[in-house]
C-alpha cells in the first residue's frame, strides 16, 4: 500500500492554505534501467480535494510532475476545525486518500 500523504491545512482570513506532499515514484516511462529496459510509466493522474465532504478541486497530472509530488492550493471559506481530504489515483489504478483538520 502507498505511504500516507503529508497534508498541512492552515486557516488565514477567509480561506485555508493547503500544502500536500504525496509519496509517489512519478516514473515517466521514458527512463531505462541499468539493463537498458524501459521502466514502465507509473504516475499520479488524478488529484481531487474535498472540503467537509464537498468536492472543491480536481486536477489531471501527467508524468512531468516531480517525484514525491507537492501541491499547494487555497480553499475559500475553510475554517479551523474543518476537514480537508485529498485523494490521488495513479495510472495503475492505485489510490490513496488522507484527511486533515484545518488548524
Amino acid at each position: 500500500m502507498a505511504d500516507p500523504m503529508r497534508i498541512r491545512a492552515q486557516a488565514a482570513g477567509d480561506k485555508a492554505t493547503i500544502r500536500v506532499l504525496m509519496s509517489h515514484e512519478m516514473e515517466t516511462g521514458q527512463r531505462k534501467d541499468s539493463a537498458g529496459k524501459t521502466i514502465p510509466a507509473w504516475f499520479i493522474q488524478e488529484v481531487t480535494a474535498r472540503h467537509n465532504g464537498k468536492p472543491v478541486l480536481s486536477a489531471e497530472w501527467g508524468p512531468a510532475i516531480s517525484k514525491n509530488p507537492f501541491l499547494q492550493f487555497s480553499v475559500k471559506g475553510a475554517k479551523v476545525g474543518d476537514k480537508i481530504a485529498v485523494t490521488w489515483k495513479d495510472n495503475k489504478g492505485e489510490t490513496r486518500t488522507d484527511e486533515v483538520t484545518v488548524s
Partner: protein, 266 residues
C-alpha cells in the same frame, strides 16, 4: 488594432523580463532553493520513521522505544546533535545509523550484519534511513554538541581527521580537496568547509537531506558513501569505523551549528 495593443503589451512584458534576467546566477540559484524549502518531501520520510520507531517489528516483535541513542532509553529529542558518541554497551563510537543497527539487533532481533549489507533505499535499509530522518528531525533547531570526554571519542576525532585528509584513488581526491577552503564550488554547488564550523544548517548540520536530483532521502552514511563514489574510491562499509570517525570529525568541528535536518538538497 486590438492585435497591436496586445503585441505592445507583450513586448513591454518581454522588456520587463529582460531587466529581471540581470540577476546573477548565484541569486537565481538561491531563489530556486528558497522556493523548495516549503514542502520538503523529507517530511514523508520523517513521518514514516516515527511510525517505524513505534511499531512492534522484527523477529522479537517489539518497538524501538527502549533504544538508547545516548541520552537514555527512548529519549529521542536532542540525541541527534550529540551523535556520533561512545556507547558503553557496545564499547563503540557509533553514529545514528550504526546505533540503529545495534538497537534493531538487540531489541528487535534483526541480524545487524544482514542489515548493513542491504543496499541503500531497499528493505530495512530504507527503514533505517527513515528512522534516522525522524531522529534528526526531533532535534531540529538545536545546536551540535558532540561529547568529546571519552578517550574513544577523542581517538575517533583524530582518526576521522586523518581520513578526511587521506588522498587516494585514480584522481588523487580527498575530502579536504573540496571541503577545506572557504568559498569553493563544484559547478554551481557550494562546498561547505568541514574543517571548522561552516555555519548553521550548513554541511554536517544539514543532513539527512532529501535529494531532488534522484528523489531519494539521504542519510549521512549515504552522503559519505556517494562522496567516496565521486572520489573514485572503492566502496566504504556501512557504519564502518571510517565513516563513523568522519562523522565525529565533522560533527565536533560543527560545534554550535544549528541543525536544520532534514533539509532539501539539489
Amino acid at each position: 488594432m486590438k492585435v497591436f495593443r496586445i503585441i505592445s503589451a507583450v513586448l513591454a512584458l518581454m522588456l520587463a523580463a529582460g531587466v529581471q534576467a540581470q540577476k546573477t546566477t548565484a541569486e537565481g540559484i538561491a531563489e530556486y532553493r528558497k522556493m523548495l524549502e516549503d514542502g520538503n518531501p523529507a517530511d514523508l520520510f520523517e513521518a514514516k520513521g516515527e511510525e517505524l520507531w513505534k511499531t512492534a517489528r522484527g523477529p522479537n516483535k517489539v518497538t524501538l522505544e527502549k533504544c538508547d541513542l545516548g541520552l537514555g532509553p527512548g529519549v529521542v529529542k536532542g540525541a541527534w546533535v550529540q551523535l556520533p558518541r561512545y556507547f558503553a554497551d557496545t564499547q563503540k563510537v557509533q553514529d545514528v545509523e550504526s546505533r540503529l543497527l545495534s538497537c534493531m539487533a538487540t531489541l528487535q532481533g534483526f541480524n545487524a550484519e544482514e542489515l548493513a549489507k542491504t543496499p541503500f533505499g531497499r528493505g530495512e535499509m530504507a527503514n533505517i534511513t527513515a528512522l534516522a530522518t525522524w531522529i534528526a528531525a526531533s532535534s531540529r533547531g538545536q545546536k551540535f554538541a558532540l561529547p568529546q570526554s571519552h578517550p574513544e571519542e577523542q581517538r575517533f576525532f583524530e582518526l576521522g581527521k586523518r581520513a578526511f585528509f587521506f588522498r587516494g584513488g585514480p584522481m588523487d581526491f580527498s575530502c579536504a580537496g573540496c571541503h577545506a577552503v572557504d568559498g569553493q564550488r563544484i559547478r554551481l554547488q557550494d562546498l561547505p568547509t568541514l574543517t571548522k564550523n561552516p555555519g548553521d544548517g550548513v554541511g554536517f548540520a544539514a543532513w539527512p537531506a532529501y535529494r531532488v536530483s534522484n528523489g531519494q532521502m539521504w542519510s549521512m552514511q549515504l552522503r559519505l558513501n556517494d562522496c567516496f563514489r565521486q572520489q573514485r574510491f572503492p566502496y566504504p562499509g556501512f557504519a564502518s569505523d571510517l565513516t563513523v570517525a568522519l562523522g565525529v570529525y565533522m560533527g565536533v568541528n560543527a560545534k554550535g551549528a544549528q541543525s536544520i535536518a532534514p533539509s532539501i538538497k539539489r
